[in-house]
């Protein structure tokens, strides 16, 4: 991506003079549904949810309660506080009558997501209002036309959600799974939250998911994770292995060579992500020449570094989690280890490139759905809003952005459903909902309850400047689909693991 990417919206933009209403979908939809109506989102795909929308504007039933658990103290607070701030920012914006662009996609699928798809595509050369990119995404004189929103935060035409104020109940999980379970019960049974947004580690999620299922609570898990959760009550808005591992492994093998050494955190995330790598690398000509799983308590990496040197790989896949394990980077740099590295977790969560002195993360490649440095106009606007509210925050991580857009997505789903009734809202989430998040377009895939993401391959140079070497505007969460999961038709409450797929048998 390039800094000059933000162009003014061209004349083809259909936001003309109607900025007070949310802007989505084809023109016909806007004209027929948005006139004077409080209906905020109404796509052709979801007519059943429209009943009563315009009437439900009157405030009734008190505040809409969103329960949010993250770790505000303890070892995981470094990530939890960011996510908590993301939820606070989103709630503030919703109460101020704002929303992110988006709505049900309609029958056209992802291709019709853009605000401009209602009009025929414009091909041209030298048009002063349009910018063009080549296949690699670089600016050119001619080629594919693209436009970019200056900001995706627009007026919702609603105050709060359905005229009701949104209240965020956000207790501290204290990095302790037992406390997570207690808080989940309290939020569901005492506070009767309309929606639960929670979870950093997979262990935390699996600790509370049985409780969520017991009460059929609408639950949004916003973390990047190993994938596989197929749960009728759970919606996963973080990126998963097929969206992060495959693109980065493919790129690294092409660019640096086939010999891969994996060093991963020794728990389900690290193990399963390594299994993905093992299954996928041979398909693109790679070879795993060594694998090491490091316990989370380890913080002295001398031996691991020597093992990498003995194996002489072309590049190292580091799936290290937590602050102890990020010690690997400065230690490896001080030992003179100069292999290119790839990851799916570092930089975008724990901002290692800001914390460690260069060149510890030189030639680190990471596939992310969000990283603060994304140079698009909409992201810069988002970053600005964030630091206006939280000027002391050190960084906006990937999961913080996920939490932020997830809360907005919930508001949108409620407006489609016209009620906070949780079963209705779950069905609205399954209506083919898309949202213009700071990262780009995200799409809630109805059958698997996972999101498609705008994935970027970010890299740090010797001075730890971040740049983007490749991007994939939409990667589907396809693995559960491949297994035949369809939560719209069949209710399920489990997590699939790679062993259940012959793809991973080696």
């Amino acid at each position: 991506m390039n800094n000059d990417n933000q162009s003014d919206q061209p004349e083809t933009d259909i936001t003309d003079g109607k900025s007070s209403k949310e802007n989505f979908g084809p023109k016909i939809t806007r004209r027929s549904f948005l006139q004077g109506s409080a209906a905020v989102s109404a796509g052709i795909a979801a007519p059943i949810y429209l009943a009563g929308v315009s009437k439900s504007f009157a405030a009734k039933g008190g505040a809409v309660k969103i329960g949010h658990i993250e770790d505000l103290s303890g070892n995981l607070a470094v990530y939890g506080v960011q996510k908590d701030h993301g939820a606070q920012l989103a709630v503030k914006e919703i109460n101020a009558g704002k929303t992110l662009k988006g709505g049900p996609v309609g029958s056209g699928g992802l291709g019709s997501l853009s605000n401009y798809a209602a009009n025929p595509p414009i091909m041209g050369n030298g048009d002063k209002d349009l910018k063009f990119v080549n296949d690699g995404g670089e600016l050119t004189e001619s080629g594919m036309a693209f436009v970019e929103d200056k900001d995706v935060l627009v007026d919702s035409g609603d105050s709060g959600i359905l005229g009701r104020e949104v209240e965020l109940i956000h207790p501290d999980g204290q990095s302790n799974n037992n406390i997570w379970q207690q808080l989940t019960r309290k939020l569901i049974q005492e506070d009767k939250v309309d929606c639960l947004v929670a979870g950093f580690t997979s262990a935390e999620r699996e600790a509370i998911r049985p409780i969520v299922d017991q009460f059929k609570q609408l639950y949004i898990y916003t973390n990047q994770y190993e994938g596989g959760v197929a749960d009728s009550n759970t919606f996963c808005t973080g990126a998963i292995c097929e969206q992060q591992v495959i693109p980065v492994v493919d790129y690294m093998i092409q660019k640096f060579g086939p010999r891969v050494y994996t060093i991963a955190a020794d728990y389900n995330f690290g193990q399963l992500t390594a299994a993905w790598t093992r299954a996928f690398a041979p398909q693109v000509g790679g070879e795993i020449i060594g694998e090491e799983f490091v316990p989370l308590s380890v913080s002295d990496f001398t031996t691991s570094i020597a093992k990498v040197q003995a194996a002489k790989p072309d590049w190292v896949f580091t799936l290290l989690v937590g602050s102890n394990q990020s010690n690997y980077y400065p230690q490896a740099a001080a030992t003179g280890l100069e292999y290119p590295m790839a990851s799916t977790v570092n930089m975008a969560q724990g901002y290692e490139h800001r914390r460690f002195k260069p060149p510890s993360l030189n030639r680190m490649y990471n596939c992310v759905n969000y990283i603060e440095e994304i140079p698009t106009a909409r992201n810069r606007a988002f970053v600005k809003r964030w630091y206006e509210m939280f000027p002391k925050d050190p960084y906006i991580g990937q999961m913080a952005q996920n939490t932020y857009f997830s809360v907005h997505m919930y508001a949108k789903a409620v407006r489609i459903a016209g009620t906070t009734d949780q079963e209705e809202v779950k069905r609205a989430f399954e209506s083919g909902l898309h949202l213009e998040a700071p990262e780009g377009t995200v799409f809630m895939e109805p059958s698997t309850h996972h999101c498609s993401h705008y994935i970027r391959l970010a890299t740090a140079d010797a001075d730890h400047n971040v740049s983007f070497v490749r991007e994939w505007p939409s990667i589907q969460p396809w693995w559960l689909q491949r297994l035949g999961v369809n939560l719209v038709r069949n209710k399920e409450y489990k997590q699939y693991i790679p062993d259940e797929d012959p793809f991973f048998k080696s």
Binding site: S73, G74, N75, A77, V78, V81, D266, E292, F293, V294, P295, S297, V298, S299, D300, F301, T302, T303, S304, A306, K307, Q309, A310, K312, S323, N324, S326, N327, P330, Q331, A333, A334, T335, G336, L337, G350, Y351, R354, R355, F356, K357, K392, P394
Partner: protein
């Protein structure tokens, strides 16, 4: 070429592993080993040392060696205050002291988090690296190995040849009699706790460049520190800590290199179990017994 490079690398790994264990345990050697206070705030004292060094180095521009010395004194002063205000009320009550120091560790960790936020910018690891036969070695870790050795010698000298050392050993052996003989035992306790805290701060500062500077970073050192001190035993804490860090590293390094970090850690824990089973009072007690026996044989 491959073989000698591998041997060199193993030696280097052995040295760094032993130095890591020893530095983790450094402050605890004094506080647990000598005073018998189960100090669960040990990790947080190391964290304070790392923070002091980071702030001195990044904010005030002090060169790193000076920053390390500053953090020794900063944490030592904090340790003295802690002893005067809280810890001295719990001598002889091991379990109460355990709970109190645990509480202190929670306050320090979360307090640091509230004041300084989730991370501090790191200190760059000083020095470069050597490489030989496909392996490379960090100069800074070589320096740390050297510092560990000189710290052992320094501590030995302090307790063997200074009047403070004599008074401290007397107080730890029998506080009542020491007091009767005119040893200011209260002051000795304060000084010893303060020294232990300062040493924890010093090793926290020394390990800071290799580590993430975060409020809960201390926890990574607590388990290795306790294992090292307990395996070493209380008969002679210094020789015990040296013996146990060398022995544990000698077991962990080859197994870690051959079978990975996970089994390396398992081997370390199993070794600790076996050693404690065979030598319930730790390595130093066994060493002492061997020496006593030899001495007895000579006198006969």
């Amino acid at each position: 070429m491959e073989i000698d490079a591998l041997a060199l690398s193993l030696t280097y790994q052995f040295g760094t592993n032993a130095a890591f264990l020893f530095l983790s345990a450094l402050g605890l050697i004094v506080i647990l080993g000598m005073m018998n206070i189960i100090n669960l705030a040990h990790g947080e004292l190391m964290m304070m040392g790392a923070y002091a060094a980071t702030i001195a180095n990044n904010q005030f521009g002090l060169p790193f060696p000076l920053a390390v010395i500053v953090s020794f004194f900063a944490v030592a002063i904090f340790g003295a205050i802690l002893e005067l205000l809280i810890v001295r009320r719990f001598y002889g009550r091991e379990l109460s002291a355990l709970v109190v120091t645990w509480g202190i560790s929670l306050i320090l960790g979360q307090g640091t988090f509230l004041v300084f936020g989730p991370f501090m910018p790191a200190i760059k690891i000083p020095g470069g690296s050597y490489s030989y036969g496909g392996f490379s070695f960090s100069e800074y870790w070589l320096v740390l190995i050297g510092i560990s050795i000189s710290l052992v010698i320094g501590l030995y000298w302090l307790y063997r040849y200074t009047s403070y050392g004599l008074q401290a050993r007397a107080t730890m052996q029998n506080a009542e009699i020491a007091k009767a003989l005119g040893v200011p035992t209260n002051r000795v306790y304060t000084l010893t706790f303060s020294l232990g805290a300062g040493l924890a701060g010093l090793s926290g500062a020394l390990l800071a460049p290799t580590s993430t500077i975060a409020p809960f970073m201390g926890q990574q050192f607590v388990a290795p520190a306790f294992i090292t001190v307990v395996v070493g035993g209380a008969t002679n804490v210094i020789s015990g800590a040296v013996g146990s860090s060398v022995l544990l590293s000698a077991i962990k390094t080859p197994i870690g290199m051959a079978y990975g970090a996970f089994l390396g850690t398992v081997a370390l824990l199993v070794a600790a179990l076996v050693i404690i089973r065979i030598m319930p009072d730790g390595i130093s007690a066994t060493l002492q017994k061997i020496m006593d026996r030899r001495r007895a044989r000579h006198t006969l």
